[in-house]
Amino acid sequence: MVTSVMPVAAPSTVTVHVLLFASYAERLGFERRELTLSAPASIGTVLDQLRRLPGGDQLPAKPLCARNLAHADREEPVVHGDEIAILPPLAGG
């Protein structure tokens, strides 16, 4: 059987830019890092990887996250090149 739509092979990995701030940057010892994840990936996948890094066990269970400069849930999918930020409790104003 022939279909008119060819299945496109999903890329096997995605690379995202991860940003940490304030107390989280101090705990993990970096402010910016690239992480490569198995596809498909979500913000939750990024958090799982971060927790395996030194100091990653100090991240809270449900930190605030952002994807490409907007607040995002952990379930939100990430694609190659995304900027994912993990945000300590906000204290503006």
Partner: protein, 142 residues
């Protein structure tokens, strides 16, 4: 012009930016650095931000207020090192009706606190330093 600034916030400039001859009611809010927090004497503090997202989020909040009420909004948040009494954030909302000006001003400051990625590090009189966590009852003293 950006929403974040390293320099002292110029309220007069924000009032001029939001004011107009047909908007006679102007509500403002200033958040100023307090000399105490959770019972401890504060000497100064540093504000840091996730700059590009903070700019984007401030822009979204101002736009939301301006679409929800008939107002013009001006907003600035300072970053860097601040002394007691310095203005950390300023919101101005100008409208033909004071109810709308107050409602929009209040909305903007609440959303700024809830959504804009800014952090502050307080330096206390006892020599300790802490990242402020408004969601916690105890501070993480370092």
């Amino acid at each position: 012009m950006g929403f974040l600034t390293h320099r002292p916030i110029d309220l007069a400039a924000l009032l001029a930016a939001a004011a107009a001859p047909d908007r006679g009611g102007v509500a403002s809010f200033l958040g100023q650095v307090r000399n105490h927090h959770s019972g401890r004497a504060v000497l100064r503090l540093d504000y840091s931000a996730y700059g590009p997202m903070a700019e984007a989020e401030c822009g979204r909040i101002a736009a939301e207020a301006e679409s929800r009420w008939n107002v013009a909004v001006a907003l600035r948040h300072r970053v860097g090192s601040l002394a007691i009494g310095d203005t950390a954030v300023a919101v101005v909302a100008a409208s033909a009706h004071r109810e709308e000006a107050f409602a929009a001003c209040r909305y903007v400051i609440e959303e700024v606190k809830r959504r804009v990625p800014v952090w502050k590090r307080e330096f206390y009189a006892d020599g300790t330093v802490a990242w402020v966590d408004p969601t916690a009852t105890l501070q993480h003293v370092q």
